[in-house]
């Protein structure tokens, strides 16, 4: 018997039942697709929409941010930071990410996003603790609602989704904004996080800072997509493409995404096109993989210059304002420099204190061992001071 016969439809009867309903797209893809061109305000007819108050606020943050970046880089040269991944050139992304959030919202930064944390109000010394090297995280994430700066790429994204989901389950009106680089979008964790977010309709905003490079690898070797924002439709969330150096444009797009998430509208993927003006970190040599011309081209599209130009066209860039902003930035930098020039307090016993809620017996043994070693070291050092300086027992060994 043929299958048709089994199903009771006779041979030559031309009967084609309608396919089951799993057929039609479950949501309309059109509104999820990004525009062909990144969204811009500055330098376009729509620039006038931007309130002068916001423009001035952004300006202050951007200038402070640039100064902060310069200061942090200087601190690497003075040996006060182990390493610094600068966000110079990306200040609009950093600042907008911070400003669009309410106090109760959460920020999930990557290693490059200390400025976003600072713009959110975190003490810069706390933000830089990881990079100074006295501890991994220099602040209480719950107090500031800033997750630890995250180094393993894209791994912070599922955290943001889980946290936002948990907040929603608890009935709290909290949005999470998570930052990731263009390179980070290639990681499996990016994919899994966006998928969970969309399935759960979690209140998360994903901000991809597409700065053109993952260390030395240019975007063209990272992705063949029309844009990274085009990934959104594959999860069923809107993708937005925006000029990442146009602070008011980014502020608007992110604000909309945050509001949408808050309203229960689910996650959004925002791709901000920007450029990293410095090397990957102070330890990197960018001349190996990109030309000065390319960097110069982007200097012409500087996020601070764009806002300055608009302020200036509106006649708002007074010497007074410029001075005041500059002073604020210098003050931040001076305070940072002074405080980072002090050696941080270190307690080797911290090594054992936070591995578990209660140290295991092993850890207590090891703590005692280190304590004894340090005591012996100190005794030797004391003895050596008495004897003279050629005793090496207490010398630091890596």
């Amino acid at each position: 018997m043929t299958v048709l016969e089994q199903r009771g439809s006779s041979r030559n009867e031309s009967y084609w039942p309608a396919p089951p309903p799993a057929w039609r797209p479950r949501v309309d893809p059109a509104p999820l697709l990004p525009d062909a061109e990144p969204y811009r305000l500055l330098g376009t007819d729509a620039a006038g929409q931007v309130g002068s108050g916001l423009l001035t606020e952004l300006y202050g943050h951007l200038v402070r941010g640039r100064r902060y970046n310069a200061q942090a880089t200087a601190l690497t040269r003075q040996g006060r930071l182990a390493v610094y991944p600068s966000s110079t050139g990306q200040e609009a992304c950093q600042v907008a990410a911070a400003l669009v959030l309410e106090e109760r919202d959460w920020l999930f930064p990557s290693y490059r996003d200390t400025l976003a944390a600072v713009a959110r109000g975190l003490d810069p010394v706390a933000a830089l603790t990881l990079l100074r090297g006295d501890w991994h995280t220099g602040y209480d994430p719950r107090e500031h609602r800033i997750a630890p700066l995250c180094t393993p790429l894209a791994t912070q994204l599922p955290h943001a989704v889980g946290l936002a989901h948990a907040a929603r389950l608890k009935g709290d009106d909290v949005v999470a904004l998570a930052m990731v680089g263009d390179g980070g979008t290639s990681e499996g964790d990016f994919h899994e996080a966006l998928n969970f977010a969309a399935v759960w309709q979690a209140p998360v905003v994903f901000l991809v800072q597409n700065n053109g490079f993952a260390i030395s690898v240019p975007l063209a070797k990272q992705s063949a997509a029309p844009s990274l924002a085009h990934k959104a439709v594959g999860y069923g969330m809107p993708g937005r493409l925006v000029d990442g150096n146009d602070a008011p444009a980014l502020h608007e797009v992110l604000s909309e995404a945050v509001e949408r998430a808050r309203r229960g509208g689910g996650p959004t993927l925002v791709e901000a096109i920007t450029y990293r003006m410095e090397a990957h970190t102070n330890a990197d040599d960018a001349t190996r993989y990109r030309t000065d011309d390319e960097v110069d081209e982007w200097r012409g599209h500087d996020p601070i210059a764009l806002v300055e130009r608009e302020l200036s066209e509106r006649g708002l860039l007074s010497d007074e304002l410029a001075q005041q902003v500059r002073d604020g930035a210098e003050e931040l930098a001076a305070g940072l420099r002074d405080r980072m020039n002090q050696d941080p307090a270190l307690d080797p016993m911290d090594l054992f204190a936070h591995v578990y809620a209660e140290p295991t017996s092993q850890l207590r043994e090891q703590e005692a061992q280190l304590r004894a070693e340090l005591a012996a070291e100190a005794a030797d050092a004391g003895a050596a001071q008495g004897r003279g300086a050629n005793d090496t027992t207490g010398k630091e060994r890596p």
Binding site: H136, P152, T155, L157, L163, G188, A193, N195, F196, A353
Partner: protein, 344 residues
């Protein structure tokens, strides 16, 4: 299976049921407890450990996730950051591997990197081990990976009562626990009720399952019933074996283990995981460090071979069985005329 064979028919509660009950009670006691994973909802998990939870607590408390283990662990981290107590199911041992970056770099370290500000009360249930006739990737004993990761607690029950008690303790712990469930014991049964006294077993305490004087079998999880059987069989050879169930591999109960070995003077570590680089090395080494002059013989190991887990038709050759354990006990230098090399 050994355990099923020896305990079957006796009394009604299976390890799977005890685990299910532990989840249910934990969820009822604390609204912060959320169960999540692949197929944990309507299906109740492929082993039915989460059976009925979605009906009782709703999808928000016991939800199917998309099929992505790093995503499951990663989102559970975020949920724990917000104060929930996620209980995550990895469907099988080998399917936890996609989540290893989240596990090693985040789950194990979050408390430490935030100086204690952000503990992660997260339980990761992993059905593990072989002996169930599973095809490749369904029978791994992956505990060595977890043991090498400071910041994780690693717990594995071998009895029905412990399945309940240790899972309750794991969920109550403010630190992440990898909770290894011996698949082949899911259907082992025992006379047990959660209303018995002290149903919540403390983490980090080993338990002597059979006192003895000749030598100590140090084991855990799926190998406990095999060791018990071996100890019975050993009486015929005149050996009175003590059987020690570690229950918790991290924290490790040096005290109980060393007290036993000092008493018996001989020890064999038994586990299914491959020997090389497996838990037995650590256990043997630390027992030897601490009990050297009480040892009449080196601490020996009976472990899975140093091979990928075999196909089902060959697995019986791989798994530590009674004969192999007794052979090894026999090599603990009982004779006076012992010569070097016989310990190999």
């Amino acid at each position: 299976m050994t355990a099923t064979a020896t305990e079957a028919g006796r009394k009604p509660v299976s390890m799977a049921q005890a685990l299910n009950r532990a989840l249910r009670d934990a969820m009822a006691d604390d609204p912060a407890v959320h169960v999540m994973g692949e197929d944990v909802g309507e299906l109740g998990g492929v082993f039915r450990i989460t059976d009925g939870l979605v009906k009782e607590f709703g999808e928000e408390r016991c939800g199917d996730t998309p099929l992505a283990e790093a995503g499951i662990l990663g989102t559970a981290v975020g949920m724990a950051m917000y104060g929930l107590r996620p209980v995550v199911e990895m469907q099988f041992d080998a399917f936890a591997y996609p989540g290893f970056e989240q596990l090693i770099s985040h789950v194990a370290r979050m408390r430490n990197r935030t100086r204690g500000a952000m503990p992660l009360p997260l339980t990761i249930r992993v059905p593990y081990g072989g002996g169930i006739g599973g095809v490749e990737h369904h029978s791994d004993s992956s505990e060595a990976y977890y043991l090498a990761t400071p910041g994780l607690q690693v717990v594995t029950p071998a009895t029905v009562a412990d399945a309940y008690g240790l899972l309750r303790a794991a969920i109550a712990s403010d630190d992440p626990v990898v909770f290894l469930e011996p698949k082949r014991l899911y259907w082992s049964r025992a006379d047990w009720s959660p209303d018995a006294p002290a149903p919540v077993a403390p983490l980090g305490r080993a338990e002597i399952r059979r006192p003895g004087s000749s030598a100590t079998l140090i084991t855990y999880g799926p190998s406990l019933p095999v060791c018990m059987e071996a100890a019975e069989a050993a009486t015929a050879e005149g050996w009175d074996l003590e059987v020690l169930d570690l229950r918790s591999l991290q924290p490790f109960d040096d005290e109980t283990v060393c007290a036993s070995v000092r008493r018996t003077g001989r020890a064999v570590v038994v586990h299914e995981a491959s020997g090389f680089g497996g838990p037995g090395g650590e256990i043997a080494a630390r027992v030897t460090e601490r009990c050297f002059h009480h040892l009449e013989a080196p601490v020996l190991r009976v472990a899975g071979f140093d091979i990928p887990y075999p196909p089902p038709m060959l697995e019986r050759h791989h798994l530590p069985g009674v004969d192999r354990i007794l052979d090894t006990v026999g090599r603990l230098q009982w004779e006076a005329d012992w010569t070097e090399g016989s310990g190999d």
